[in-house]
C-alpha cells in the first residue's frame, strides 16, 4: 500500500534505489517487540537503520516528497558520519544543500557538512563557515543558533 508521500514517484524511486523498505504495524494496546525495542510512542515514526540494524536517524510524521527525500539523504550522510566515512558523508550533506536548499533538512546538512570537513582537516575555518552560512541563509533555524559559538573563530 503506497499512500501519502509513498504515492509520489520520486519518493518511490528514491526509497527503492537507496533503502530496504520495511513497514512495522503498531498496536497501542499490545506493543510489539519492535515497538518496545525502538521505543515507539507515536506514529508514523520513521527510522533509518544501518545494515547491522543500528539506528542513525529518526523522523516523526510524514513529510512532503522533497522534504522526505532531503531527510533521507541527510540520514545516509549521518550513517557515513557515524561510521567515520567522512568523504561519503560530506557528499551526502552537500547533495542536500545543493538539491534541496529549501527543505527542512538543509540547515542541519550545512551544520554537519562543516563538522565533517573540520573533522577531516582539523581546520577550524570550516566551523566558522558553518556559522556564516547558517546566519546568512537560515538565520531563523535552530542550527544557526547551535552554530553561534563558532562565530568567534577568526577567519
Amino acid at each position: 500500500m503506497n499512500t501519502g508521500p509513498y504515492s509520489d514517484e520520486k519518493v518511490q524511486k528514491f526509497i527503492m534505489e537507496n533503502f530496504i523498505p520495511l513497514k512495522s504495524q503498531c498496536f497501542w494496546d499490545k506493543p510489539t517487540e519492535l515497538m518496545q525495542k525502538f521505543e515507539i510512542k507515536w506514529t508514523p515514526t520513521l527510522i533509518i537503520h544501518d545494515p547491522e540494524g543500528k539506528e542513525h536517524h529518526r523522523m516523526i510524521g510524514y513529510l512532503p516528497a522533497d522534504d522526505l527525500i532531503a531527510q533521507l539523504i541527510l540520514a545516509k550522510g549521518n550513517i557515513y558520519f557515524d561510521t567515520d566515512r567522512l568523504p561519503e558523508a560530506i557528499a551526502q550533506f552537500q547533495t542536500v544543500i545543493n538539491q534541496y536548499p529549501d527543505a527542512g533538512a538543509a540547515p542541519e546538512a550545512v551544520y554537519w557538512l562543516g563538522v565533517a570537513r573540520f573533522k577531516r582537516t582539523h581546520d577550524p575555518k570550516f566551523l566558522r563557515e558553518i556559522y556564516d552560512r547558517l546566519a546568512k541563509r537560515y538565520p531563523q533555524s535552530e542550527w544557526a543558533r547551535r552554530a553561534e559559538a563558532y562565530s568567534a573563530i577568526p577567519l
Binding site: 503506497n2 509513498y6 514517484e9 518511490q12 524511486k13 526509497i15 527503492m16 537507496n18 533503502f19 530496504i20 523498505p21 520495511l22 513497514k23 512495522s24 504495524q25 503498531c26 498496536f27 497501542w28 519492535l34 515497538m35 525502538f38 515507539i40 506514529t43 508514523p44 515514526t45 520513521l46 527510522i47 533509518i48 537503520h49 544501518d50 545494515p51 547491522e52 540494524g53 542513525h56 533521507l72 540520514a75 545516509k76 550513517i79
Partner: protein
Amino acid sequence: MMVTYLYSEEVLHERLPMRPVKKRKEAKKMVEINWEKDFKTALEKAKKTGKPIYHDFWFDG
C-alpha cells in the same frame, strides 16, 4: 448482413506491411515500494546489498 472485423493495431500492421509503423509511446513504468514486513528479513537484505533500512512504524487507526 455487414460483418465488422476488429483487429488490433499490431495485426493491422502485419496485414498491411507497406503502411509505416508508428511507434507507440512506452507506458511509463511505475515503481512500487516493495515493503518488507519482517525486521530480520530486512536486515538480511540490507546486509546483502549494503543498503540501509527505511523503517516505517505505522498504525492503522
